[in-house]
């Protein structure tokens, strides 16, 4: 039963990865190279995995971990979007997002530890 679940998971993951790499995907904007279009969808599915952990996580700390990972992924998303659109302010959003998610994770960690914000 456990190996069956493992096999089903392996098949689903490889199906997602192969579909991203080989199927014709909808192009939402004018990507300058096909790799960047695939890159958008790979990051999209990584974000869906971490959202799955946010929904499904048994405790609050699991959700905080997944939120941290999602914050770092969004920085990568901004970096990817900066190339085909040619707009440089996406990387500014990335820097601001990295610092802001760091501060929010510090506050969440203090809250999970059971202390108040002013000690």
């Amino acid at each position: 039963m456990k190996s069956l679940r493992w096999l089903i998971g392996l098949v689903v993951i490889s199906a997602i990865f192969g579909a991203i790499l080989f199927l014709p995907l909808p192009s939402l904007l004018d990507w300058q190279s096909p790799l960047l279009k695939r890159a958008f969808f790979i990051l999209f599915f990584s974000g869906l995995f971490s959202l799955w952990r946010i929904i499904r996580g048994p405790t609050a700390a699991d959700r905080a971990v997944a939120l941290d990972i999602l914050g770092i992924l969004i920085v990568g998303f901004c970096a990817i979007l900066g190339i085909p659109t040619g707009r440089d302010w996406y990387i500014d959003i990335g820097i601001a997002w990295a610092l802001q998610s760091f501060i929010s994770i510090l506050a969440l960690g203090k809250y999970l530890e059971g202390r108040r914000f002013d000690d």
Binding site: L35, F45, G47, I72, G76, A79
Partner: protein, 111 residues
């Protein structure tokens, strides 16, 4: 030539991101998940940003990408350490097949 190098760095970073998030879904325990995913995602996003730097060159956007790598490498380990410490202090158990828990002994000595 330099664009090819940038795309190679971006694809390495994408592979690291994808498999790090896979570890976030598949591993059994909070500490295992943190251990697998935060390193992979930090390195992968840093690699994507370095590819962006190679693509843009020494323009303001490329310099900002280097600055963003610096911020990520400084802040991500600190936030992971804070999360693991607060989770351990709030009493979340390890996986039942985990072998040793040295931080519990340290906490007893400090108390």
């Amino acid at each position: 030539m330099i664009e090819t190098a940038a795309f190679i760095f971006i694809s390495i970073g994408l592979a690291f991101d994808f498999f790090g998030c896979l570890g976030l879904v598949r591993f059994p325990d909070l500490y295992n998940r943190l251990h697998s995913s935060i390193k992979c995602v930090t390195l992968g996003t840093s690699s994507i940003l370095f590819g962006l730097f190679l693509y843009k060159g020494f323009t303001p956007a490329g310099a900002k990408a280097l600055l963003c790598i610096l911020f990520l490498l400084l802040t991500a380990p600190v936030s992971a350490h804070v999360l693991a410490r607060s989770a351990h202090k709030s009493g979340i158990k390890l996986w039942d097949k985990s072998v040793c828990d040295k931080y519990a002994g340290d906490e007893k000595i400090n108390d």
